[in-house]
């Protein structure tokens, strides 16, 4: 028990308003502020370059993955992920930001490569069902599409990890995990 508070309680004994619900109310001490809820920050206190440049870079990476798919460069998601890994290390982006962005870039790139032919009339949905069935998976189009996008994302993430690991670490970047 706080000693100071005990002394003040003694002076207030018997006075009106000194008691609340069987205990002494605090006097002259303001209410403590409510604790602030934890709000994780997806950005570091700083990152190199303007945000729009980074967004543009992500879009370009997606385009590269899509173009690579069209050209038969199936490993492009990993290449783009690798480059992204180096870039985000240099740019100071946290892992919690770069991971979903790179996965989305890779998946969206291959998704785009599937979507564009579908728009031009190719039976991509029916082909997806065929691929799933031939692969011994449940014969639904979503399964083949999902597996395809997952493979691209996996490549991208593996590249991201390697890129980050290879890139030189900024001296002040010690808490970025």
């Amino acid at each position: 028990m706080n000693r100071l508070v005990s002394k003040s309680e003694a002076t207030r004994l018997g006075k009106r308003g000194s008691y609340r619900l069987g205990g002494l109310a605090q006097q002259g001490v303001g209410r403590p502020a409510a604790p602030r809820p934890f709000r994780p920050s997806f950005t570091r206190a700083y990152h190199a370059g303007p945000a729009w440049a980074w967004v543009l870079g992500a879009v370009a990476g997606t385009g590269l993955v899509a173009a690579g798919a069209a050209g038969g460069l199936w490993f492009m998601p990993m290449v783009v992920g690798l480059a992204a890994g180096v870039a985000v290390r240099w740019g100071g982006w946290r892992l919690r930001v770069s991971t979903p962005v790179v996965a989305a870039m890779a998946a969206a790139g291959w998704g785009l490569a599937l979507w564009i032919p579908a728009l031009s009339g190719l039976p991509v949905g029916a082909t997806a069902r065929t691929i799933a069935a031939l692969a011994g998976l449940p014969p639904y189009a979503a399964v083949a599409v999902g597996v395809t996008l997952a493979v691209s994302a996996l490549q991208g993430l593996a590249g991201l990890w390697l890129g980050r690991a290879l890139a030189p670490r900024p001296p002040e970047d010690e808490i970025d995990r």
Partner: protein, 877 residues
Amino acid sequence: MPSRRRWRRARRIGNVAVAAGVAAAVLAVCAAGYGRLPALGPVLDPGRGAWASAAGGQLPTTQVLTLPGLGRAVTVGFDAHGIATIDASSVTDAMLALGYLHARFRLTEMDLERRQAEGRLAQLVGPAALPSDRFELRLGLLRTARREWAEMPRTSVAARALLAYARGVNDYLDQARASGQWPALFPLEGVYPADWTPVDSLAIQGDLTQELDYTTTPLDYALLDRSLGAARTMSWFPVLPVNAQSPYDPGPYRPLGIAPIQTTMVTANAASSVTAGPARGGATPPRPAPSLATTLPPGTARAAATLLAQAGALPAGQIHEYPDSNAWAANGPRVRGGGAMLAGDPHLPQTLPSVWYQVAMMAPGFDVTGVSVPGLPGVLLGHNKHIAWSLTDTQNQSTLFYVEKTSRSRPGQYLWHSRWRRMRTVRYTIPVRGGAPRHLAVKLTVHGPVMTQVGQTVSVDWMGNVPSPDVAVLFGISTASDFAQFRAALANWRAPTQNFVYADDRGNIGAISAGYFPVVRHGAPWLPMPGTGADDVAGVIPYAAVPHSYDPPGHVIATANQRPVAGSYPYYIGTTANDFDPSYRASREYAFLNARNGMTMASFAALQTSVTDDLAVRVLPRVLAAFRHVGLTPLQRRAANVLRRWNRAMAPGSPGASIWWTFWSDYLSATFGPWWRASAVPVHLDRSGLGISASQFSLVQVLEHWTLDDPANPAFTPPGGPRRTAPQVIRAAFGTAVAHLRARLGASPASWAWGRLHSRQFPSLTQVQALGYGPRPSGGDAWTVNAAYGLPVATDGPSWRMIVRWPGTTGSGHAAAEGIYPGGQSENPASPWYENLIPYWWNGRYLPMPAAGGGPASPAARAGSAAGRRVRWRLRP
């Protein structure tokens, strides 16, 4: 502090190492796969992998294509249903275009078929296919195909057709390699088709021959002989049928001796072959007596069991199990307006894609429309300007097994004609996906390949291993304009033995059972025979003596795999267990056709889709008579009433059909089951050949005969049991059947629809369930004209229905022709042409066939073309 720095440095190095390892692992799995996992990167690459097969799912558009190897430009047209028409300046250009079309729409099917035939399936699908590869390499489809190609004169029309066809296939393969647009199976498996060669086409020809002509009947006989005993075996699986038959060639017959087997592709002049007469002194050929079997050497049953296990490991339909097909023709007063009319529906495994690809081909001197087989140049069934033809399997015995005499003191040798001879050895390496290559040594005797050395050394003499110039014969048929030319062309056909049914524009009809019917001078060919020489195949039935018919007085010819000849035919052609149809379909067809004059194409269509069960027509009155004056339970009485009112049609909604089929199956079991159990027949070794079922045609016709004519046959009395007669067994079986149906379908006989027990399915050739069609409730059974083989799910049946009508007898009319097959022209499941023809087939409808002969198409065909989508490809050199 330095230690913290070292730790951070070590951690960084570790991070780099782990990241690099993970990235390398991901890259490696994506690039090369792991175990059964395919190379995920190239496989799932949206631009080049399995996804690129979406391009093959698109309908073709009008365009110009460059095909190296063409002499001059070729036009290919597609109607709304995908039926192709090829218009070329030469036959070789037409064949090249056909090869391109087949590859464009059926590459997976072609590659699977050639791998199957050549023992290379394991390279695509892994170790599971090794039994099939070993079997095929032993049997020797590849050896025969290579030999056929080696012996084929390169200037012959067949060689030129095969080369042009292969060039067309390879033109497409080059395009696929350049574009990466392969059918999905190849990128998924990571194995791509090699260039096509004429040997591949000939191997596929061998594969078809095997499906239609290779049987294991003698092995079944060996096991039945051992378990049931020779007397019962030959009584219950007799050589000659005991029930009423409808041969299309009722005789009279003339024995013409034995003709030699042509073992090379250089064939004699067709006309001289026809008129050559007896080839070996004109002596009456021996005809093995349909009596007791000879004593089999010890170990034969064990060898037979081993061989049946080999066959049992093959994919369904790889060897011959069912009778196949209907084909009939009528002329004169039977056809409205005179002229001749022909119908054909070959019964084969009904797969997606189909075994057929429909096409019309036109080139100077070559105008033909019908169905082709992907992998083979030409049209197998169809019509040209003057004649139409269809095929049914003859079902004769073409597979003979020999037990070679060997000695431990003489390894690798066998005794033949009193001399020890060395077996020849051929060695193969079988590539296996996901595993090490396997090696196989095949030994050959004078009879053929040694199929097993377990128990006994057994070799097989199979007519499918005799080189057969089928491509040349098909070309000869396609260009024939009358029966004489048709018959002359068929003189060189060796295997598979087929009933070729014919109708022409002069109002003639005919049929010939073309092919080799092997003849032995001694022994019982329905059993494995001693290989010491005396029982060897001495030759074949001369072409002039094979079953045939031309313009019969009844104006009707019907072949439905029934025994084509009567019992007085002077040659042995096989036993009742050789899958000759018990004549139920043929009898139905003759009854229908002989009862009508002025038939139309609609009449033929009605017969092709008929599901009347002729066995029920024959036997049911006797069955119902067995219920008179006996006590039945209320449920049995209601079931009997349903059966009494039943019209004998195996319609999907018919409860009578369910009761009939269940009863008949239980009747077979009640009669033969006690004998099978008492004799310990090894049914597990070959369920279709040794089991008691409705597809065991010998037992079916024997039981029919006893029921109608010999109800007190001792076989009705079980071994050691009280005496029984047919009516008693009928009542017992009926009670069992009603109990079965009640347990399965409920207590109301009126609701026991046949479609609840029986369905039909068109499985995918890749054996992937989701890519097939059905199962759907369906009518028919094994004995209906619209046949359905297999219960509860039929996967064999009419694989193509065709009707051709020649309007007059002057030779100047154009044929009206229609056809349909259950499937679609494209093998790509994403294509609108994958299964677009199934609804037509299922509902008994037909589509007009594109015109042959450059003449006008039938009005129906013209209407179809006008209404449909027309796409043209211009193929240029």
